[in-house]
Assembly symmetry: C3
Homo-oligomer: 357 residues x 3
Amino acid sequence: MSNGTAARPDLRQSERFLSLYTPPKIDGDFTGKHIISVEQFDRRDLQILFDATASIRKRIRQHDRGLLALTAGRLMATLFYEASTRTDLSFQAAMRHLGGEVVAASNGVQFSSIYKGENLADTVRAVGCYADVIVLRHPEVGSSYEAAYYLDLLRQQVMRQPVVISGGDGVGEHPTQALLDMFTIFDMKGRIDGLDITMVGDLRHGRTVHSLAKLIAIYGAQDTTLNFVAPQELSMPANILSFLEGRGLTVNQTDNLYDVLGHTDVIYWTRVQEERFEDPASYEAIKDRFIMTPPVLAQAKPDAILMHPLPRKHEMGTAADHDALDADPRTVYFRQMENGMLVRMALLAKVLGGLWV
Amino acid sequence: MSNGTAARPDLRQSERFLSLYTPPKIDGDFTGKHIISVEQFDRRDLQILFDATASIRKRIRQHDRGLLALTAGRLMATLFYEASTRTDLSFQAAMRHLGGEVVAASNGVQFSSIYKGENLADTVRAVGCYADVIVLRHPEVGSSYEAAYYLDLLRQQVMRQPVVISGGDGVGEHPTQALLDMFTIFDMKGRIDGLDITMVGDLRHGRTVHSLAKLIAIYGAQDTTLNFVAPQELSMPANILSFLEGRGLTVNQTDNLYDVLGHTDVIYWTRVQEERFEDPASYEAIKDRFIMTPPVLAQAKPDAILMHPLPRKHEMGTAADHDALDADPRTVYFRQMENGMLVRMALLAKVLGGLWV
Amino acid sequence: MSNGTAARPDLRQSERFLSLYTPPKIDGDFTGKHIISVEQFDRRDLQILFDATASIRKRIRQHDRGLLALTAGRLMATLFYEASTRTDLSFQAAMRHLGGEVVAASNGVQFSSIYKGENLADTVRAVGCYADVIVLRHPEVGSSYEAAYYLDLLRQQVMRQPVVISGGDGVGEHPTQALLDMFTIFDMKGRIDGLDITMVGDLRHGRTVHSLAKLIAIYGAQDTTLNFVAPQELSMPANILSFLEGRGLTVNQTDNLYDVLGHTDVIYWTRVQEERFEDPASYEAIKDRFIMTPPVLAQAKPDAILMHPLPRKHEMGTAADHDALDADPRTVYFRQMENGMLVRMALLAKVLGGLWV
């Protein structure tokens, strides 16, 4: 235990803030609320957010400059303790398209605060003295809860009320990814109720699929089936399964994609990493079921959609496979990207209390 | 002397620009002036700046969008040769809140110009071809003087008049830190005259306390007492002491905090680093006087204020100590952060010649 | 061949996109076109662009806020896979001065996509889901062609039409550098026709001189002489020479600057690197002809101009030499910097379809 926490009692552990801090329920009003967990939302909140997203998309396509008034004069700071170009640029673009301003550490956070040994609680409050909203990406579970906790304390000391929006914390949650994924399903299929949805890959460690599955349950989807396709050792964790239980969903677990591929409406593909397997032979035995290629997609329904959070690597085969898949109208992962910016625009506008979105 | 300057006669030494270049006095007019030393200011200049800062704060709290016109169309570039998240974000946020624009090297300066071996004189002029104001953070003493020198030369070659504002150069000056600290004292105590002000920690190497002490002297504070609390080997340098001499200040030096804690109005806390001591035993002997904890603060006056430039580490004890101190209304370090942005807004608006601030 | 491309058939090679993708001709209309090669331009296009640049310069000097409307509501993303502070800041400043917005990966691209192993095709499309224009700097030849190819595919999947502008790809092209260089010649000498233009240094590896020479040929300059001064082993490549052939230019090659210095109108100086020579003695023998110092410049015509793409190192002598050269009115490299921003403003405004520039 030489470098355990017992030996460094002065270090805060972000994870304990998961129990110390309860994220505020949205309950129809986003204004001034930290966004750190999918559990803050209910069906109505999701409907409000997705309606706003659709409206913003329409206005963006019309080049409606009125959008530029929605967060004018408001400042977003990005604090990325680990790199994520997509999430980072998506949030920045969202804020810019609403007329708001963005600041980010010029040299990246990793060269500054961490280098000087400052803890997250102080860094977040220092930035909260300048910014109206902080987008936090951090490798530790619970870090966005810790940020929310200390920003609430800060409100008593300075005349500002900054909020934090999670851009992903460790193997914990990544709420805006789940929101954009769910919006994409809505947008492509027109509904969540009654769909057959399949998640494939490393479901044990995949933050993305955990949050999306929970969000579908939170929405209270009716007659919806969730198929979890994973190797035995990488199957969906028990705590997620118990969260889903008794919420009107049908859950199937299998390690064979072909059990469900022919009748599923939504395929959500993620990566299985060879390194996760103790026995290379067991990876060899199943890997073909976890690499999406044009012949695999050929067996899906003509109106299915293929989703992926990106970045993708070998789980979608070779560069030639990528090109072939991209040409198939059922692949929607670049739409997911676009929707990511739009959902974040809706969220920022609502949280910062724009007059309307 | 194999790698000394004699062996590389082609390298400019930033430090020699301290004698080559004389920073312009403000003398009531900030427009178009480089800001690189506290010695440019006099009492009236400080009063003008602090009045503008207070006015800007009032307007920000009223969400006055008129602020967005003050530097509209003007461009700030940040050139940070060493990381400083706080200073960096504070300047960026200040410029944004005034409606101005900001550019920064996407990958950090350290990956580009230095990598390619370009000297500061050329980099600063290249950036001066795009920007109206350059915020420079550099590890070498005199670097902001060198920047000012070459930007003045540039004015003869291009149709622009860019200015540099120092964001700290090496162990030299950090003028905007001193300005925000002094504004905070004014703001919390209503005056500088007649105060008992205590600076604690490594006063030998602390750029922050050097600049603040000089600025208090420059202000011409009357009946003000400066207490310097430091271990013998880390006491305030002779050149600072001689600067303060004969300017109407009372100066006390001690290595025992408790000599002054009970009657001081302002406590400015900084870090003492164990590594500075040749003999570990001598650090052990004094360290308790240089760690601020709730029991220490309990011995201060009820209306004292506790300042710190942040980031803080073990000089404010454990994480639990941090939390307890933060809950004490006498701690004002997050207000210092907020004031940092406000003072920089006032400075940018005045230097860039906004119609009014 | 263990790590050759044969062993990794899934990797795209950017270079093959040089033949796969044909950049669109400008043909009088810049709107929505990728800018990745000087070969897209003809004489009329250059005239249009340079007229717009001159007009923008005039308006910037008048502080004409109308410029801020030209790209308002449009978003530029910078994707720099290698550092280039100048190009990066110049593009950012250009977009800002037109009222547009800029996003850049906060931690630099090298810490994110590459780290996660994503290929350029996917990264560029992901960013294209947010941005209207992507400025790409990449170490591989053909990378901007690859980006253009995949962005065209993306247009079929999302409701956006993002364009790429090359910020330099490897030893390939750097079109905006050539444009700013040519504009500078126009601006200082009033014409290209009839000039005697000398390029000096490593002409074999110098991307900058390749692009500029081609652009002068493309312009169809009449009675113009190009002198290429380089050591034998670093002379202008055959493919560039053949491109220039039969386009009305007179081409001279020499390794002796003094053959041409006395009668040249434009001197374009670049670096010769000692490391390029197999035999150190052959570098020693010629190096004095490839270091520009005040005594060398003294032998040039009184109305000649001395250009350099910057950054400069020892090819312009010591720091004292730099200072002396900079004081000579014939040196125009900082004007080149300024023009770089102005040409990029004209280009961005035209590509993004501003109502007018």
